[in-house]
């Protein structure tokens, strides 16, 4: 069964509650879903907003990525997300990070996630789950990218 990694992010409202709700849905949608620790991270791009909580989930699925994407969008909406600035504040954000070794560039969905290797709050939790992951597009290993760039990336810490 294909393996999927999903990034969870939240910085509005009941942040723990949003992550908890997302975790429940992901556990039912994916088989053998496992979760990283929760990270606290500073905003990127649009700085005047609260810090985020981030987490990564890994699981197996028979569903195709677009079908899962639509389900994730529905969940984001259910948690109160409305249209807003691209990197702006949101109650819940679910991004597909990768789907097996797929490389898919399309207007609705790009996998692996185009900014996966630039985000500390994605790389750090993902490393807990799949330290050996290699980006099929660039051939770069996650661990090596992290070692080389973590000092330049935005701040992020495991939540105590």
């Amino acid at each position: 069964m294909p393996i999927i990694a999903v990034a969870l992010g939240t910085n509005l409202g009941d942040r723990e509650g949003h992550l908890q709700a997302a975790a429940e849905v992901l556990t039912s949608l994916l088989s053998g879903a496992v979760f990283s620790r929760i990270y606290e991270s500073e905003p990127v791009g649009y700085l005047d907003q609260p810090w985020f909580l981030n987490q990564v989930c890994l699981g197996e699925t028979q569903e195709l990525p677009l079908n899962l994407l639509f389900k994730f969008k529905a969940l984001e909406k259910a948690r109160g997300r409305t249209a807003g600035p691209r990197f702006g504040p949101r109650p819940l954000d679910l991004d597909i990070l990768f789907y097996d070794q797929w490389v898919m560039d399309s207007s609705l969905l790009t996998i692996p996630h185009p900014r996966l290797l630039e985000r500390s709050f994605v790389i750090a939790p993902l490393l807990e789950l799949v330290p050996a992951w290699t980006d099929p597009r660039s051939g770069k290993r996650l661990a090596e990218v992290w070692a080389a760039t973590k000092d330049q990336l935005s701040r992020c810490f495991p939540k105590p």
Partner: protein, 395 residues
């Protein structure tokens, strides 16, 4: 050590032979054949949503869909895509496409037809008691010109005993192995002066009537005028060869359908200039076929011709000959006419009376690329070229 070598097994029949050679079980062969046939299809006018789903589904089956930047990132509403995969992957795609939204069920029908036509030879066609079994061998059409100004230098008009000369030429063509005669009374070479319908009939009909009685070969009449076509069919013509693909005059489709006469539809354009040459030629020919079918002509009575030298630059003509096999997806027998044409003069820098070798090259490659019928002046020579090429590629 392992005696690795490449197999030139590009079509299912060749793959099947290679399977048999190493003793693959018949059941296994049926399952695997489709995985050895790789197919690339270009689609236009695809919506962005449809493209997303298509891409995902084909990726899931191990194939791929390439989208332009416009489609992938900039959210263009419609665009083009290139699908790549084995026949098996396409079949699995077709299992799910009909249930999808965004026009994908219509796409499934087109794709299904394309894949079906790809491995099917066009249905045989009987004209004047001669059966044309497309794919079995290459058929030869001999050109008889009644025009005073024919570019290929053998216009017979104005000479004494015109009818005698035509009959003699028809006999020579028959003896040399021609399968069909093509007779025209209006020169269509670039720059030729058009003739009136009356004049065309006057030149054509008396000769045609006698020729039709004398020759055992079916006769095709080269005209785009419905009045001429109608009179010619009444005078014994068997096929209408329209250089405007039934699209110049709306009456033309009615005339051929009323007579249930086989028709050759040719691609043509007033002035050269293409953004996507093969796409344009192909969609023009599809439109011609649809027109004939809509008027009640059976699909198997339509022959397509890409129209080498008509509204095309030399480069365009060379491209079409070399990519002729792309037209197989239309599911119709393909006529190729390059005999002595200016594209050969352009490449070899030779006058019209010295283009025999150049013509031979186009015939040989045309057959390799799927031509079923070849229209030529030099019947004896081109029958030999076709037989030799058939021996090489039709086995």
């Amino acid at each position: 050590m392992f005696s690795l070598r490449l197999l030139a097994a590009s079509n299912p029949e060749e793959i099947r032979k290679e399977f048999a050679r190493i003793g693959v079980s018949p059941e296994g062969a049926e399952i695997m054949l489709g995985k050895g046939e790789f197919i690339v299809v270009k689609i236009g006018n695809l919506s962005a949503q449809a493209a997303n789903i298509l891409k995902q589904e084909m990726l899931a089956k191990g194939g791929e869909v390439a989208l332009g930047k416009q489609m992938a990132y900039l959210g263009a509403e419609k665009g083009e895509a290139i699908i790549m995969g084995t026949r098996t992957q396409y079949q699995r795609l077709l299992d799910m496409l009909p249930r999808q939204p965004f026009g994908l069920s219509a796409l499934a029908q087109d794709l299904n037809r394309l894949l079906r036509d790809l491995d099917q030879r066009p249905s045989p066609l009987t004209i004047k008691n001669r059966c044309f079994e497309w794919g079995k061998r290459t058929y030869i059409m001999g050109i008889i010109n009644l025009t005073p100004d024919s570019f290929s230098g053998d216009g017979l008009f104005g000479q004494e005993h015109l009818i005698t000369k035509v009959l003699r030429q028809a006999e020579t063509f028959f003896a040399a192995g021609a399968d069909l005669l093509d007779i025209g009374a209006e020169s269509t070479r670039p720059g030729a002066t058009p003739v009136s319908e009356e004049e065309e009939k006057e030149r054509l009909l008396p000769v045609l009537e006698i020729l039709a009685k004398e020759t055992p070969l079916p006769i095709s009449v080269d005209t785009y005028k419905p009045g001429v076509a109608k009179a010619a069919l009444a005078a014994g013509a068997d096929v209408i060869n329209d250089i405007w693909g039934l699209q110049r005059d709306p009456e033309m489709a009615k005339v051929v359908a009323a007579a249930q006469a086989p028709v050759i539809v040719m691609h043509n354009k007033s002035t050269p200039g293409y953004t996507d040459l093969m796409a344009e030629v192909s969609s023009f020919l599809r439109a011609s076929m649809d027109l004939a079918i809509a008027h009640g002509l059976p699909r198997e009575k339509i022959i397509i011709d890409p129209g080498i030298g008509f509204g095309k630059l030399p480069e365009d003509n060379l491209t079409i000959i070399n990519r002729l096999d792309e037209l197989k997806s239309l599911g119709a027998p393909i006529l190729l006419g390059v005999s002595r044409k200016s594209v050969i003069g352009h490449v070899l820098n030779l006058p019209v009376d010295q283009r025999l070798e150049g013509t031979s090259a186009t015939v040989a490659i045309g057959i390799c690329r799927g031509a079923d019928l070849i229209r030529v002046h030099d019947v004896k020579e081109m029958v030999r070229v076709a037989r030799m090429t058939d021996a090489l590629v039709r086995r």
